[in-house]
Symmetry: C2
Subunit: 296 residues, 2 copies
Amino acid sequence: MFDYKLLAALGAVVEQGGFERAAQMLGLSQSAVSQRIKLLETRVGQPVLVRSTPPAPTELGRRLLNHVQQVRLLEGELSELLPSLDEGGLPDRLRIALSADSLATWWAPALADFCAAQALLLDLLLEDQDVGLKRMRAGEVAACLCAVERPVAGARSLPLGRMRYRALASPAFIARHFPDGVTPRRLAQAPAIVFGPDDRLQHRYLAALGQEGGFLHHLCPSSEGFVRLIENGIGWGLVPEIQVREACAAGRLRELLTDRPIDVPLYWHYWRNGGSLLATLTGHLQRRAGEWLLPD
Amino acid sequence: MFDYKLLAALGAVVEQGGFERAAQMLGLSQSAVSQRIKLLETRVGQPVLVRSTPPAPTELGRRLLNHVQQVRLLEGELSELLPSLDEGGLPDRLRIALSADSLATWWAPALADFCAAQALLLDLLLEDQDVGLKRMRAGEVAACLCAVERPVAGARSLPLGRMRYRALASPAFIARHFPDGVTPRRLAQAPAIVFGPDDRLQHRYLAALGQEGGFLHHLCPSSEGFVRLIENGIGWGLVPEIQVREACAAGRLRELLTDRPIDVPLYWHYWRNGGSLLATLTGHLQRRAGEWLLPD
């Protein structure tokens, strides 16, 4: 069998973003962590870690971490049946990748009861909904919420519903940039706000209006910051309807083109052999997500 | 002089997180970008890029990017004097690193007028306030807002004020975890919420109460998500006072220990020779930050 001490050291260095913190987390010296990584590399015959800042796993390192994640989930399963093997009754942890927009809106109310009832601790990772799956593929997470349907090998995907986005701006921004009304062409000339290089929602919206190509935009990788920039008239952007109901009702935000939403489907990806906690959480989301998301 | 085409290719690969996107951005083929990086490495005699996913600059690569950032700021300065050299009158862009908490609260209202008046586009990067300075050191940003006072070489730092944090939880969470009142010991046993591995605020708060060592916590790298988790009773955590005035007034959130805030100082770091736009922005922040931050 693999030596999981070595693999745990690799996981700690990647998760914690460095050797020093990994050593703290594992309760080891830094040189002990270093030695374990070197020993692992000697055994597998190639590097598992790129020594950048922060260190990144190589392709092989990634596969090993993927494997460790699945073994951990299986162990979680087993330790429920054999409570004496458990390390002191610590709460379970689940590492989950999701989009900032879900986290800023429906995720917390959907999970509230579940976390309390199961004494579950969440390690949340933010990933844009079009690319979150790479965290599953890399074996860094137990589950992932994203816009891509097709599961990675060993995992399943479950449609939870659709998140509706509307193109919004502040009344002052609309008055300044569209004195003669909003047209697709003028919209493509007004500064937009884009979440980050992986966010293509504004591009898709403009393309659907026949406006292909580049456009001026701010970059703002924060869901709340995104809405704040729009409210303050710094740009326009696509925002989840459920995040800004109040701001729209109060007139602080207005839809640019009447009733032209974009819907983004959300899929829950989880390991097939992920253990009963993950299965219970999956069932919980399947039952509850409809309270916030539109039917699929 | 340096060949800035090669350096621009390096910058694009790092900024865009890959060769393919860098090629799109530069309007080149992927192999042309690759060749430029290789040529740069031949000239400087060592690697400038670690070929990880995403690619990361080596120490030397970082220094070169730092240099490019400063040259760009200087060019921006010059192109104002010589508008004919400017590439088609595109708006200026400033790349700025700041904390999610500032972005979720006072940043947008503070910048609103400025962006409109200067036709400025913002590239915002999120970095925890204790570590944001590494983006300055790496030359990836024009300015940085963080909790560290000491500037990097070539830059200045300016105190803008203090952000006040309070330890908050929902009434339901308090009832569940502290039926006999909140004590430091019980607080250290209730699940906290921590922004990420770089966030030591909850640790410092507990340490100030005499509770050293580890504690149970969720990880949630989103400012709005952080507040949502607290409002839904999933954990307790330290939140900027200005972010939750309304939730506290409405009784959705309560301070755990009466009037025990933590203040975090915020410093604005900017390149000394960063050009007049950066200098104007610096003056603007110096005048306006006091509307949201406590005096230093």
